[in-house]
C-alpha cells in the first residue's frame, strides 16, 4: 500500500536547503538565505487538536493542567494549551520530537490537516502584525503566553503570543487551511519593510529552546 502524502498549505518561494521526511510531511528544516530575521516559519505539520468538553477541569491532555480562564494559555514541555471559551481548548504539540498521536478520548478532534500553523519570531514582529490586525499584542495587562481570537488580515484566527521580548518576540498563528496561500502572501508583504523572510523549522526549534 502506498503511504499517504501530507502537503502543507504554506508554500514559500525560497529554496529549501535541508528537508526532512516526517510523518508523511516534507518538513523544511532550513531555507537558503534566511537572513537575520524576523522569520516566518511553517509549523503546519505540528500536531494540533481541538478539545471540547463540559468537564474540562477533569481533563489533562499530555498530563497538562488546562488554563481556567478563556484567553489564557499554558506552555509546558512543548505542549501549548489555549483556553478558547468555557468548553473548548486548542492543544498544539510544538515539540517536534515527542509522540504526536492524539489521545484516545472522544473529546479530541485532530485539526492538523484542516488548519495552517505558522510562527512569527524575531524583532519587529508586532509592527508587522499592526499592519494586519487591530488586536493589541502589546497590551500591558496581558502576560505571555496569551490567546487572541480575532481577525488577522480579515481572517478569523487564533494567535498565541509566546514572548513579548523586544528582540526575541514570537507568536503562533493558526487559521483555516483554505486561507493558507493568501495569509502567507499578506504576512510576507507586510513584513517586507522589516526584512521578514521564510525560515525552516530548525530556526523555530532553536528559538523555543532559547
Amino acid at each position: 500500500m502506498k503511504d499517504i502524502q501530507r502537503i502543507s498549505p504554506v508554500v514559500f518561494k525560497s529554496t529549501p536547503s535541508k528537508v526532512e521526511k516526517r510523518d508523511n510531511w516534507d518538513v523544511v528544516m532550513e531555507y537558503s538565505g534566511e537572513g537575520d530575521g524576523p522569520y516566518l516559519v511553517d509549523l503546519s505539520h505540528r500536531p494540533r487538536f481541538d478539545l471540547q468538553s463540559s468537564k474540562l477541569a477533569a481533563i489533562k491532555p499530555f498530563g497538562l493542567k488546562l488554563p481556567e480562564i478563556p484567553g489564557n494559555c499554558i506552555f509546558k514541555k512543548g505542549i501549548l494549551a489555549n483556553r478558547m471559551n468555557g468548553i473548548q481548548v486548542s492543544v498544539l504539540n510544538l515539540d517536534g520530537q515527542k509522540d504526536s498521536s492524539m489521545p484516545d478520548e472522544a473529546e479530541y478532534t485532530d485539526v492538523t490537516d484542516s488548519t495552517i500553523c505558522v510562527a512569527l519570531i524575531g524583532k519587529n514582529i508586532f509592527s508587522i502584525c499592526e499592519k494586519l490586525t487591530a488586536l493589541d499584542f502589546m497590551d500591558l495587562q496581558k502576560k505571555a503566553p496569551f490567546l487572541f481570537q480575532g481577525p488577522f488580515s480579515h481572517v478569523p484566527c487564533q494567535i498565541v503570543t509566546l514572548s513579548k521580548d523586544s528582540d526575541n518576540s514570537g507568536l503562533i498563528l493558526t487559521c483555516s487551511r483554505g486561507y493558507g496561500r493568501d495569509m502567507i502572501n499578506s504576512i510576507l508583504h507586510a513584513g517586507e519593510e522589516f526584512g521578514l523572510r521564510p525560515a525552516g523549522e530548525s530556526r523555530f526549534t532553536n528559538w523555543i529552546k532559547a
Binding site: 484567553g71 481570537q149 480575532g150 481577525p151
Partner: protein, 86 residues
C-alpha cells in the same frame, strides 16, 4: 457610526467581528396550546425600540460566543445593564 461591542470573553472589539442575533424576547413560549399565530408573532414580531434594547450578538470572527448586550439604537452605543434599567 462606529460600533464596538464588548464580548464577555475577548473584551471590547470592532462591531464588524460580530453577527447580530436579534432582540432579546424572553424564554421560548410553551408549546402546549400554542397557536401558529402566537408562534409567528414570537419569531417575527419585533419591538424595534428607539432607545436602549437588550439584544443577542455572536462573536463570529472571534471566540464563537453568543451573548447579550444592551445597546442604545439611537446612538449605537453600548450601555451597562444597570444604566439600561433606569
Amino acid at each position: 457610526m462606529a460600533l464596538t461591542i464588548t464580548c464577555p470573553i475577548c473584551g471590547k472589539r470592532n462591531g464588524y467581528e460580530f453577527r447580530f442575533g436579534g432582540e432579546e424576547k424572553g424564554p421560548r413560549p410553551d408549546e402546549k396550546d400554542m397557536t401558529p399565530e402566537a408562534w409567528c408573532d414570537y419569531v417575527h414580531m419585533n419591538k424595534c425600540v428607539a432607545g436602549i434594547q437588550e439584544e443577542w450578538w455572536f462573536h463570529k470572527d472571534g471566540c464563537g460566543s453568543w451573548f447579550k448586550i444592551h445597546r442604545d439604537t439611537t446612538t449605537n452605543l453600548e450601555k451597562e445593564a444597570q444604566e439600561a434599567k433606569k
